[in-house]
Amino acid sequence: MRTWLRVLLPTSFRDRYGDELMELLGESRHPLRDSVDLIFLAIRLNLENAMTGVFRWTGLGLILVGMFASGYATSDLGDGLAEMHRHWWSTAPVVGVLAGGLLLLASNRLRGRGARTTTAQG
């Protein structure tokens, strides 16, 4: 379990503090609670990394366009969102919103070892 917990951390943070973190986790008297604590750290660091660079602006732009287009498109539908699957033109903004969100979430992995983290090297 510690292996996959370690993998959740951004690469540069893992390289810098991974060994110490895993040692602390290995000696924990509250392994479940401390594992959850580590997961929250991984989520925070990955979100911080995702909110930097070109991926942030691209992702945010896609989400804004997608939300605007979704609202514009669904306002014309008699049954609102329930009709979306019958209208091919309405799936494009939904895909745009989803693509923007996925781009933000995946940006840390895509940028790999160059990801900035809150470390002395960053």
């Binding site: 991984a42 809150t118 002395a120």
Partner: protein
């Protein structure tokens, strides 16, 4: 009780260089607060990136950290700020 992990880490290191495990245990003993490894190392990473602490022995398996001069100054300022809040609060309570 102030549970700010960064402040607790700075106070722990004020006694001298310590590695993460020792910091965790020190905080547990002195304050009765358990900092999980994620919380603790999140604080250590932020403090290190701000230049308030540094590693004293990079080659050691358990890397000890120590306060820098900026770290000592930051800790003094934060504790002074907390002290004034405590003093004011207690004086107001005394007058009630």
């Amino acid at each position: 009780m102030n549970r700010d992990p960064q402040l607790l880490a700075l106070v722990s290191l004020a006694r001298g260089p310590r590695h993460g495990y020792a910091m965790q245990k020190d905080i547990e003993v002195e304050f009765g607060i358990h900092l999980g490894p994620g919380t603790l190392y999140g604080a250590i990473a932020r403090l290190e990136s701000r230049g308030l602490i540094r590693v004293t022995s990079a080659g050691a398996r358990r890397r000890p950290y120590e306060l820098t001069e900026d770290g000592r100054r930051e800790l003094r300022e934060r504790l002074a700020g907390l002290s004034s809040v405590v003093a004011l609060g207690l004086s107001r309570l005394a007058t009630q």
